[in-house]
């Protein structure tokens, strides 16, 4: 019997674990180590953040699902990896620390035959002064929608702001409220979540009748609106080619949302941020309510050799994400190729360790790298969430199962390169059965392949976009479909990643 341990139970880890268990059956053991007791469909957190969904709509308890699937579930966080075992034992193992009430803080060694790192990111709030609380958590100056609890808090603050705006309108004081949404650092990813949140706020403000009392502003590290961390994209809209730049600019103008781009948020205080622009100039922006996405980093896992020496740099890139079969020495932007991107997500040193989803270290950015004259990098980092995370998780599960069943020598490693993978993204711009809108986009490939598709790097036959009510319906249906799938209800395997 082989034991597969999956560290992390998010989109990628959950996909890996559930498919691996389905394919391996009772003959082999699948263990999930995740600090969370609940699974969260993160894309819908933005609706929790505007009060259109409750926390219970976007989460469910993991224990019964894993019990049903026959997966050994440990509510704990992984602390360290020991791929060569320890003195007196060659068995690879990890150390986990319980996060479960009653056993919190207790550590345990878990041996493994195969290990998948799908921990997702650490929300690195403290990378920006004042964005975090100095303990790695969200500070008091802004809100977040990165977790369901954050989103619940964001909604409370947002409703208080709406109330202030309503009162000012009634009293005729003319006091306007100012909302700032975007990225809280020059190296953030996940602009999509902030994009969805700002337009949902705008939509809700309209519904609440206070839109005319609120100034809404976007701040982002993108060099142009519509970059989305993918260097922008071309979309076919109504038979015409439209750049995501123009698409986004039109949407912001239409909804009267002002923007700051090419910005690195360097400091956050109560009601005020400081930011540096691409040209190195420093500026300030005030706010009454701000949701700023933090940058991501690895979760802080360490790696140790048999003799106890630190081998973290063998397992992880400097940003804390796990090294996989990517080309990390591609050099300057002009040398970047689609083939730099990992295909199998296998660690180059330890062939029984894989990484999936956000946990793998990308070889480089997708967007064109930029920095200010002061040397501050200001560019979006590559998105690896949602559909790609699920697809990668499934491919990794396939590879590991083949290795277990056929042996390492005979196994076929399954590929899921983001440079050969399309992705569909449905970005909500307001929730409502009849007045909702969402931008539905598909892009192929996620990472541009300039050799295969000279010019834009993408296949425009498979890249399209549309904004409207139908997009919202799709987004809402996807919410229910993916939670259904994650709960492993009948036919869950038929629903694509």
């Amino acid at each position: 019997m082989a034991r597969l341990i999956i560290m992390g139970g998010g989109v990628s880890g959950h996909t890996t674990a559930t498919f691996a268990k389905k394919w391996l059956g009772e003959e082999h053991e699948v263990v999930v180590v995740t600090p969370n007791s609940q699974w969260n469909w993160i894309p819908s957190n933005i609706w929790v953040g505007v009060g259109q969904m409750s926390k219970k709509d976007v989460v469910f308890p993991l224990a019964p699902v894993y019990a049903k699937a026959g997966i050994d579930y440990r509510q704990a966080k992984a602390v360290s990896i020991h791929p060569n075992g320890k003195e007196g034992s060659d068995e690879s193992y990890i150390i986990i620390e319980s996060t479960k009430e009653g056993t919190q803080g207790q550590t345990e060694e878990l041996t493994y035959d195969y290990l998948v790192n799908a921990t997702g990111p650490k929300l690195n709030f403290d990378a920006t002064e004042g964005l975090g609380n100095g303990k790695g958590e969200l500070g008091n100056n802004t809100v977040s929608v990165c977790t369901a609890d954050h989103a619940v808090h964001a909604n409370i603050e947002l409703k208080q702001l709406f109330e202030k705006a309503r009162k000012a309108k009634q009293d005729g004081t003319g006091e306007r409220q100012k909302i700032l949404v975007g990225t809280g650092h020059g190296m953030c990813t996940c602009q999509g979540a902030a994009f969805e949140y700002i337009f949902n706020i705008e939509h809700e403000a309209k519904k609440a009748g206070v839109r005319d009392m609120i100034d809404i502003k976007w701040i982002s590290n993108e060099a142009f609106l519509g970059d989305f961390g993918m260097g922008g994209l071309h979309m076919k809209v109504g038979g015409y080619a439209v750049s995501s730049k123009l698409f986004a600019e039109s949407l912001y103008a239409e909804r009267n949302v002002d923007w700051i781009i090419g910005a690195h948020t360097s400091k956050v205080e109560a009601g005020k941020i400081e930011y540096e622009l691409l040209d190195g100039t420093m500026h300030e922006e005030t706010f009454d309510f701000a949701m700023l996405i933090p940058p991501f980093a690895g979760v802080g896992l360490k790696g140790y050799d048999k003799d106890g020496s630190d081998i973290s740099d063998t397992l992880f890139a400097p940003n804390g994400f796990m090294k996989v079969d990517a080309k990390y020495d591609a050099g300057a932007y002009e040398n970047w190729k689609a083939s730099d991107w990992p295909e199998t997500y296998q660690n180059p040193t330890f062939d029984n360790i894989f990484a999936a989803g956000i946990a793998f270290a990308p070889p480089h950015l997708i967007s064109k790298p930029m920095s200010s004259p002061n040397g501050t990098p200001i560019n979006p980092t590559p998105p690896r969430t949602g559909m790609p995370a699920g697809i990668i998780g499934k491919a990794v599960a396939h590879s590991v199962c083949d290795m277990i069943k056929k042996g390492k020598e005979n196994a076929h490693l399954h590929k899921a390169s983001m440079a050969d993978m399309g992705a569909a993204c449905v970005a909500s711009a307001g929730k409502g059965i009849f007045d909702g809108t969402a931008a539905a986009m598909t892009v192929y490939p996620v990472v541009p392949d300039f050799e295969k598709y000279p010019g834009t790097g993408r296949d425009t036959d498979y890249t399209f976009g549309e904004i409207g009510l139908a997009g919202h319906w799709i987004k809402h249906i996807l919410h229910h479909m993916f939670i259904y799938k994650a709960k492993l209800k009948p036919g869950w395997t038929l629903i694509p990643e």
């Binding site: 060099a223 142009f224 260097g231 922008g232 071309h234 076919k236 109504g238 038979g239 015409y240 080619a241 439209v242 750049s243 730049k245 123009l246 039109s250 781009i261 090419g262 622009l277 691409l278 040209d279 932007y333 002009e334 970047w336 064109k368 930029m370 920095s371 300039f450 000279p454 010019g455 834009t456 790097g457 425009t460 549309e466 139908a470 319906w473 799709i474 249906i477 479909m481 259904y484 209800k489 009948p490 036919g491 038929l494 629903i495």
Partner: protein
Amino acid sequence: MIKTITQYPTQTGFDFGGTVRHFDDTLDTLIKDIKDTIEANDIEGLSAFQIGSPLNVIVIKYEGQYLEFINPSIFVKEGEIHPTESTAYYPNLTAITSRAKYIKVVYEDSNGVQQFFTAEDDLAVLIQRKNDYLMGSTFISRLSTEEKKIFEKKLQGVSSDAMSCTLSPFSDKILTAIKYSLLLGAIALPLILKQSFIPSLQMFETYLMWMIIGLISIYFVRAMYEGKRCGVCQLGNVAAMTLIKSLHLGVLYAINTWLLF
């Protein structure tokens, strides 16, 4: 080499906005071609797209000097002005646009070194206009609804053939409705997993497929009528589109027959 400037009604293709990655002889040749074309036509500037290149390159002739912007991005826009603009894409036509008065651009020079440029008023407007081409657009996307209507009337005078070869927005809307109806039909299918939903799902899919047949028929009749003005090319497009949508419907019917009926 002097190149031909793309003019209306040639539609923008998908090849635009390509990031320049190699600062080599090919780029130098492209910049030289743009300059030659600017000189030959005595104009203020051109984007690479206007002479058929997909790359993000703009060349502006300002006070006798050439300004070369490679991979430009306007990251600061301040103030608002409403200039009357003209462009080589729409010869002899003007329109009142909405532009930022002051802009800051981050770009690379022809050696690939990151630079910044600040512009105001006319120069800012010119750069913004050329930048629109890098997005596969023209200044038409910067017009108010009213101004757009006026400009579209002016365009009809330029090329009645070109205008007549465009189907009405209503026909496009029918196509969109067909697309989303097909999508809805496919998305609803997982409901089959719940036994109690099956009778309702059968009824829903039946009505939906009849509705799609109706929409395809309406599209075909209307688009054929509109397309008659254009000739064989547009009629061929309509017929092909009708066939494609019918095939999609056929696939939905086959899946429904297999799973539901």
